[in-house]
Symmetry: C2
């Protein structure tokens, strides 16, 4: 294969005991995985040996305890804070990217910029920030909010938050620190820059108390699929994790996002679109199906119903008959894009509530692929080559075994087809993803100024 | 020695390249230590092999760039965020405590409770939180404050912050999680508790999304020496890191703090007082003095003056003559206790500004001990036996060598005298410090209720 051939990017989306809601009951699952460092170390090593680009953690800052009967039958209530965990995982890995979700709604940009820059230094240039806004009431109530901020305000704040964080990451020029013992000069004051941000939501002076990190900026990831989310992503994201059910839907989204980039002066391949994929792998189609059915049988109806309610942005479906088609859902302030996604799916396939909750129990609105390594590779290849995706975020049904199977069976198949790397291209997450390293804004401004003067 | 004999507790207060302001220029210092993980891993291993109770990091959330000429000659402007670093260090250590400073002024209690609980799970019960309030303008300006909150308000908020954090740490009873694959029950809903805190500064519902940690609560550390600080410590702290220049001062503080405990129903030995000690160690007194002088000679006058200004809470001394006695300092809103400490020192010894900055260049107001392993052990023994201290926070002049010398020379001397452990007593920081594990408040309340009913 050509060295410059476009290849699939792979993220390992890790979640406690796995993505299937009943994963923790799987005989081979690590039931206490959410707070077991050795479990995550093992999973991270599996992903790194398979040459995944990154491991990725979602996040929420609450226990969603509105339905305790359901919650107490899942492994979702207790887990490591992602940045704490990734900092530790940086020590037991060498090449794989480390992407954590942190909400702009409940944090301060200075703290966030600092933590991700620290993690980037720690791992030698492997950190990534999944920028999200928070939309659940249970989270708002842990942060002195009386009610959740409006969708539009959340995004406005998110954009300004991003601007501050990126500005702080440029506080120091890359070569600011000479640390010359002889002269006694530790850094060059001319290469330190004060941000002096004064906006609607934040006033942040800077500079950051961390040197510019190996990647310049940690990789910025986003997941929002609403129009506001897509526009913010086109401006700022370098990776998008997204949920699609069909190739057509994926292609529409892909075209939409890539077409928005030009207006921000960005190239199409500088934003990687990576839909989530929930793979159940068998030596035969029948074996794969049997594995999936065995997992589905572990779902208690109480759990399935509650999951559906959560995934639809807080809408309560417990009063509707389980075996009748999904009713019209009233639109709420919470996650609009997920509501639409679920409704579209139910309409398209005329699903009952029970069928819908079984459908999303694993993939939660993402694409489920149940099949052989070859058939799964076929599907990834098609989505990739027909411009539905630049890569995939692999959501293993259970951990560690589910990821192990993908690494042992599907990755080699992709490699045989020349669709996936056999060795890391670079040292940093940016290098492996094929993303440019941002030039420091102050260096850029000075360069442009010199060019203007020279042109006179 | 008796198994129950009271012994010295030791913390290793780590700081980039060491505590001396010119440490980074020392021939054996790791000049880029502040952002070098291998450096910190080496230092943490040295401390653990010597059986230190904990490593400890101070923190600030700004670059104090008011005097760039000075700052650019120090290694203080860039370093890891402490929790990020300690999470990584948890992986390369097994027994030593991991204490990070995090300000209550610029954080949310839910985020903080979660991070420290996560770190406690990560290290198997070794985390500690040094609770501080922030008093510098440079920090306030990074967090959308127009000016810094008043001293009294900061402490009021800190107490409420602590109450919320401790309450969140009790969200789950210790045995809440059964994770029984057969029955499908992951946790017992009756053992989950909602805090529902509604106070003046915070409204936090809870529960925390992390199981109760190995220590129940991470160890709570404080450093405030003002009256408000001391009262808060008596209520809530389990360790106090403090700065003293004389034994008498240390004894007065020790008696004061210990006498305040009874009114909160606490026992004197459940709060460990650990003054900072800046040791310069030589085989002879002359060698130790020569080592110290060599370090002092590396201080640029610009650096010394600026340090003094910072340490006195932002008071500008650059207009006063260097070689005249320290003038009266106007009291500012920032760190009152540190201003008083410096003034007392200057008065007591009739120091000039230059002499004062040279004096604090290393220890920054803490006790400097320059001598042989025996004479340093003598002094620690005296302070310990005459109730000036329960232990010490060792502030090595430069790293890693300075800590290495303490570990190799002073620790064995303390061990020979039966004053320091030769093996860790327990698995957790609490066990090693001899601190009780807090009983979950909800379990305690239920126990008390049963006792009341039984007594009727």
């Amino acid at each position: 294969m050509s060295k410059n051939k476009r290849q699939i990017k792979l993220g390992a989306f890790l979640m406690e005991t796995g993505h299937h809601i009943a994963a923790w009951r799987h005989p081979d699952a690590q039931a206490d995985g959410g707070l077991n460092f050795e479990h995550y170390a093992q999973v991270a090593r599996i992903a790194e040996q398979a040459r995944f680009d990154a491991i990725f953690f979602a996040d929420s800052v609450s226990v969603r305890d509105t339905n305790l009967a359901s919650l107490s039958r899942t492994a979702r209530a207790d887990h490591f804070e992602p940045l704490t965990l990734l900092s530790a995982l940086s020590v037991v890995t060498r090449n794989i990217g480390l992407i954590a979700t942190v909400s702009t709604t409940f944090n301060e940009p200075y703290n966030l910029a600092r933590k991700f820059a620290s993690l980037d230094h720690l791992g030698g240039g492997r950190s990534g920030w999944n920028l999200v806004t928070s939309s659940t009431e249970s989270e708002a109530l842990n942060f002195s909010f009386e009610q959740h901020p409006d969708h539009a305000v959340r995004y406005e704040r998110a954009k300004e938050f991003y601007d501050v964080v990126a500005g702080l990451w440029d506080s120091w020029e890359d070569d600011a620190f000479s640390r010359d013992k002889q002269s006694g000069v530790y850094f060059d004051p001319d290469k330190l820059h004060v941000l002096n941000h004064r906006g609607k939501h934040f006033k942040v002076r800077g500079p950051l108390n961390v040197a510019r990190s190996p990647q310049g900026w940690p990789v910025v990831v986003q997941a929002g699929a609403s129009d506001a989310g897509k526009e913010l992503a086109a401006q700022t994201a370098e990776v998008i994790f997204v949920a699609h059910q069909t190739l057509e839907e994926a292609q529409t989204f892909y075209r939409d996002i890539k077409s928005r980039l030009a207006r921000y002066g960005r190239q199409p391949d500088h934003l990687k679109i990576m839909p989530g994929i929930f793979p159940v792998i068998g030596k035969t189609e029948a074996e794969a199906r049997a594995k999936f059915d065995a997992l589905q049988e572990l779902i208690h109806p109480t759990v399935g119903l509650a999951l559906l309610s959560n995934m639809s942005g807080g809408v309560d479906l417990s009063s509707y008959p389980l075996d009748r088609p999904v009713p019209d859902l009233p639109e709420t302030n919470g996650g609009k894009s997920r509501q639409r996604l679920l409704l579209d799916l139910a309409r398209r396939e005329n699903l009952t509530i029970r069928e819908l909750y079984l459908r999303i129990a694993g993939a939660r609105g993402h694409q489920q692929v149940v099949g052989t390594p070859e058939s799964i590779a076929d599907q990834l290849q098609q989505w990739f080559e027909e411009e539905g995706a630049d890569g995939f975020n692999i959501m293993s049904p259970w951990l560690p075994g589910g990821l192990g199977e993908f690494a042992e069976l599907v990755v080699p198949e992709l490699q045989r087809r020349g669709l996936f790397r056999t060795e890391y291209e670079g040292r940093t997450l940016r290098e492996n993803l094929g993303l440019p390293r941002p030039v420091n804004r102050y260096v850029l401004a000075a360069t442009e100024q010199r060019a203007t003067v020279a042109a006179r």
